[in-house]
């Protein structure tokens, strides 16, 4: 009897390991090794065609940490994330709430609201050029008709604002969809009961909908934060980081340094510093989220 149990448990264990194996291989191959390689390159001088020509200690890190352009790109990225993510979350959730409480025409709005989500960021970026250009762009023309002139693509603030508007346009539907699914999963009786007690939809929204949807909403915020910190295609297609470096988010700068100009040493050091910084932000966010849920 005992022997059978041992044999069975060995077989079970083997089966478990077999199931785990693909995930482990995936993580080791596509996360662990690339990070190790990046750490190695970050201590090296790399030249295209020659490979690593010398190990330079912390020189790449010193250069990154004293590089004004690096800190500027971090600053721009933070502004980008701090502005876009809250707007996307708030607008996405409010729209989901409006659809949930059943305003007229909600069935029509649902596909319209989600359409941008299915378009590539790069395509939206190029579309943005045609929307914001002074030479007959749709937004510029509408604003001009109202007597408003904004230098969207020729100034730092205009370029950044245009990139943010497009980012909000693409990603609000993501929060909207997640929120809609969450609100739909909450039994309707709860809202009906709450409406009897409350004096308005606003009170139900604030005291019932948000707390009940919070676990999923917090995941949506987390995902948007992560994506926001990595945002690349849209700002790159829209302004290529310019004018100057005014809209050069970190990801654009990292791409130029590492991929386009093959400075793997500095690019890797840059990536590792950024990884540490983003990890701190995300860890802080997780802690706050847990506290709130408790």
């Amino acid at each position: 009897m005992e022997v059978n149990e041992i044999v069975q448990s060995k077989a079970e264990r083997g089966f478990k390991y077999a199931l785990l194996a693909p995930a482990v291989i995936w993580i080791i191959g596509l996360t662990f090794f690339p990070i190790l390689a990046a750490v190695r390159y970050s201590f090296a001088n790399y030249v295209l065609g020659e490979g690593i020509t010398a190990y330079v200690g912390l020189a790449n890190y010193a250069r990154v940490l004293t590089d004004g352009a690096f800190w500027y790109s971090i600053f721009i990225t933070l502004i980008f994330v701090v502005v876009t993510v809250p707007i996307e979350v708030c607008v996405g959730f409010v729209l989901a709430w409006i659809i949930t409480i059943g305003v007229p025409g909600s069935k029509v709005f649902r596909p319209i609201l989600t359409a941008p989500l299915f378009t590539m960021e790069v395509a939206i970026g190029y579309l943005g050029v045609t929307l914001f250009t002074d030479q007959g762009g749709l937004y510029s023309s509408i604003l001009a008709a109202l007597g408003i002139h904004i230098d969207w693509l020729s100034t730092a603030s205009g370029g950044l604002a245009a990139a943010m508007i497009l980012d909000i346009w693409i990603w609000t539907p993501f929060v909207f969809l997640m929120s809609l699914a969450t609100l739909a999963a909450i039994p309707k009786d709860i809202f009906d009961a709450a409406m009897l007690e409350a004096s308005s939809h606003w009170q139900v929204f604030r005291h019932v909908a948000i707390p009940l949807a919070w676990p999923v909403l917090s995941i949506a915020i987390l995902l948007r934060l992560l994506e926001g910190f990595k945002s690349f295609g849209l700002p790159y297609a829209l302004t290529s980081g310019g004018p100057g470096t005014s809209t050069q988010l970190f990801s654009v700068m990292a791409d130029l340094t590492t991929i386009q100009f093959t400075d793997f040493g500095r690019g890797s050091a840059m990536g590792i510093v950024y990884l540490i910084m983003v990890s701190i932000v995300i860890t802080f966010f997780f802690k706050q989220m847990r506290k709130r849920m408790n």
Binding site: L48, D151, S154, G159, S240, G242, G244, T245, S246, Q260
Partner: protein, 549 residues
Amino acid sequence: MSQDHSKNEFEKLSAGYLAGRISRRHFIGQAAKLGISAALLSRIVSFKASAAESNLLDSSPDYPNEAPITKERVEFLKTKPYKGQTINILVLKATVGDGLKYWVPKWEEETGGKVNVAEVPIDTLHQQIFSDLQTTHRYDAYMTGAWFYGDFFVPKEPYIIEVAPYLKDPKYPYWTPDDWIPAMRTLYSWQGKVYGVLFDGDCQILYYRRDVFDKPENQQKFKDKVGYDFPNPPKTTKQMYDVANFYTGWDWNGDGQNDWGIALHAKVNEQGFFHFLTLAAPYVCSPNNKYFWFNPETMKPLINSEGHQRALEDYVKYLACGPKEAISWTLGQGWNLFLAGQAVMEPTWGDLPTFAQDPKESKVRGKVGCTIIPGTTEAYDPIKGQWDKFDLNSCGNVNGGTWHCVISRFSKKKDPTYDFLAFMATKKNAIYNCTHGFTGVQPGMKFEYFPPVGTGKVEEWVEQGWDADEAKRYLDGYYQNLSLPVQESYLRIPGAAEYWHELDVRLSAVLAGQTQPKAALDDCSQSWERITERYGRDKQKKLYAESFA
């Protein structure tokens, strides 16, 4: 005197031999009488053997897509030599990429081969080429900008192959590097050896509206406002600015909208920085100084010299004579402003007059004037650290991509790859390319220019839809630029793309008002120093010297 006579005789003799008018035996005999060395004769004869010796035909009715064509080539094509073979080429997603794609079906029809073309935008082309060379080796050939060349020669064995062995084999399409304008040949070569196959030949000159410049009332208005006779066309950078400024902000074309003095494009990570390189050249390069980029002794950057700084200050002023949004424009957007008749000048590549020929794209056909880039009356010698005065210091350039294909040394299909590239380089196809705007190709061969500098015919251009006078003006301006005694050197060392990018973002920052010219160029100089250190100062210095050779 007698030496000159011998030289002239030998030139006539060589021309006759290369054109097939005299036999090989007669050529060698006569040349020997003139005292020409056996080594030189052997080189000429072996070059002649490349194809012409094999009875070059003006054309073949069986293979009308290339001309001239050798008899060996005609026989070779009868076998459909590349049937079942596919080659992969990475090209720039732009007009030059479209130009290459145009020839694919024609070559496939002739040879039985197949060509896959992958297109990537300019901002990722360098990265795609070199990541493929280092990893997957998916492509047999790459369309390269001439400034990528240094990077191909970093490994001990270059990433790309020489094309000389193919040139000697008459079964391949006929073209010869000897037809190149010398300045262009250099951009296809490294240390005297040819690696690229003819496609494009870039340089920037100034295009302007002749009809607008010629109007007496405009000239009078200019004189009243600026205080001197209208310079038609501008000869100095100061005159160019005065003209641009004069034509900015009023409706000189009568369409009811205010127009502009200059069309430029300055989006970062595009090709706008070439405008600065072109316009800055006469502020630094002169009969007293040929170095624009680095001090050849120390490899210290010269980019923050007083000359470069003044050029950048003026560049900011030029840009203010166009739409504010030009700071985020790509190349095509700049051209469109001129082609729509809303800008009076544009310093750019030859695509502009080529597009101007198409009435669907252009309102300015027959109205385009062409001249060399205006010069300066003083230039800064950054090596000696002093300003030198000149009556007029004009400087030529070969700025641009001079886009063409090179063959990967890792390619397993080098023969069909070369065949396809050489097919586009045959005279008939090269002329087609440089006379059509959609191909993005400019003239770089002698047979594309008119006598006395070339062997081309104006009728060939008219047949392709050109206005005869405009073709003459265009080629005259282009050739004048290429033959100026002072030329801006072209940066072709490893990391050139990176050096230029560092400059590009700082130019853009200055244009956007983020920083001032001196601070930007000082900062650029420091970043260039770091790039030089990374690649190795001594190696860069050596390659910089070689790139001049």
